[in-house]
Subunit: 205 residues, 2 copies
């Protein structure tokens, strides 16, 4: 019987693409055949962009966000409020919050949440470095902006215990409730219950 | 305002992934962050597999399938029936037919179908080289295995006209009808009509 792929090089490239998350072998084949139709120059641009990033990536030594320098633009910016730290799970969360254009403080990227099921304990996360930042002074507020899951809540709780020695630092958490434009009847009961319990004064919006 | 990406290198890699078909910016970001979590060695394996393929790819000079040699394994195999040529649109189609394990002849990869809407005319396809293969003799049957679309049908028709000078070569086309395991009531009317018109003697399966 003839092997599935007519070219070992093709098979190797498809294998590599199929290792990416959410990419099956058929999608991998489609992507590789797309690349094959491009000029060799464009392929080089593609592989070099990936390679350059992975060989030269920096993480900000303050907040652990991905950066081109040792200190990221947000931490280095004189216009950001250095007394606020927003604690997030990953780099995408920083981007999501930046896109709201509602936050002018700094960040702290944990690199995940505590999840014993996945073998992730507090020491694999950037929790000690957060405590060090608070310890070095000048911080007025820590905003927990983690996922609204058991793991996210447990992580916020763990960090709040670690921050016990700093009673002057205010700890806050993102509000939870109905999403904007949600219809009440389709909101799940836990969210609706939380929304009701955490109701706020009506200001006429 | 801070730019969307905290790193220009990150943005460049995401840009490159987002150029792939069916990959949006969010997916591209997810793929790039996945790669960033890997060892640098694995990244190099990934980029080298892509690069090596695209720099060293060969197309079989007989059937135009992707190959590591000038003649592909199928065309070079002594056990294949060299009097049959199955005409397909692309490399994936060869793989699909090989996987049925029902075909022992050769292939001819056109590289697409005639599609004036996409600016693809007969001369961008490997049609002349197919006529040359037939002209050089020894071919008994051409099997049209193109997509069951207007473009596929038009391409088969165009090629059949080009093969008029070879009346001894039998032209066949894949049968069309209900898919195996399809329920009759859910089969579309055109397919069902074609299935009825092309009914075959009942052999008790």
């Amino acid at each position: 019987m003839i092997q599935q792929y007519s070219s070992a090089l093709l098979e190797r490239a498809v294998d590599e693409f199929a290792k990416l998350p959410g990419v099956g072998r058929k999608t991998a084949m489609r992507l590789v055949l797309h690349l094959l139709r491009l000029d060799v120059g464009k392929i080089d641009t593609f592989t070099q962009a990936v390679s350059t990033l992975c060989h030269n990536v920096h993480y900000c030594h303050v907040c652990h966000n991905i950066s081109d320098e040792d200190t990221c633009q947000i931490c280095a910016s004189p216009s950001r409020d250095k007394s606020q730290i927003c604690v997030v799970e990953n780099v995408q969360d920083v981007m999501a919050i930046e896109q709201t254009q509602q936050y002018r403080g700094l960040y702290h990227v944990l690199g995940g949440v505590i999840s014993p099921m996945d073998g992730i304990g507090p020491h694999q996360l950037e929790i000690d470095s957060l405590v060090d930042r608070v310890d070095s002074g000048g911080i007025k507020e820590i905003i927990f902006a983690l996922s609204s899951t058991m793991e996210g809540d447990a992580t916020s709780f763990y960090i709040s215990r670690k921050l016990k020695p700093f009673p002057d630092v205010m700890l806050t958490v993102l509000s939870r409730g109905m999403s904007i434009n949600d219809e009440l009847q389709y909101t799940d009961e836990v969210t609706l219950g939380r929304s009701l319990a955490n109701r706020v004064p009506f200001t006429g919006m």
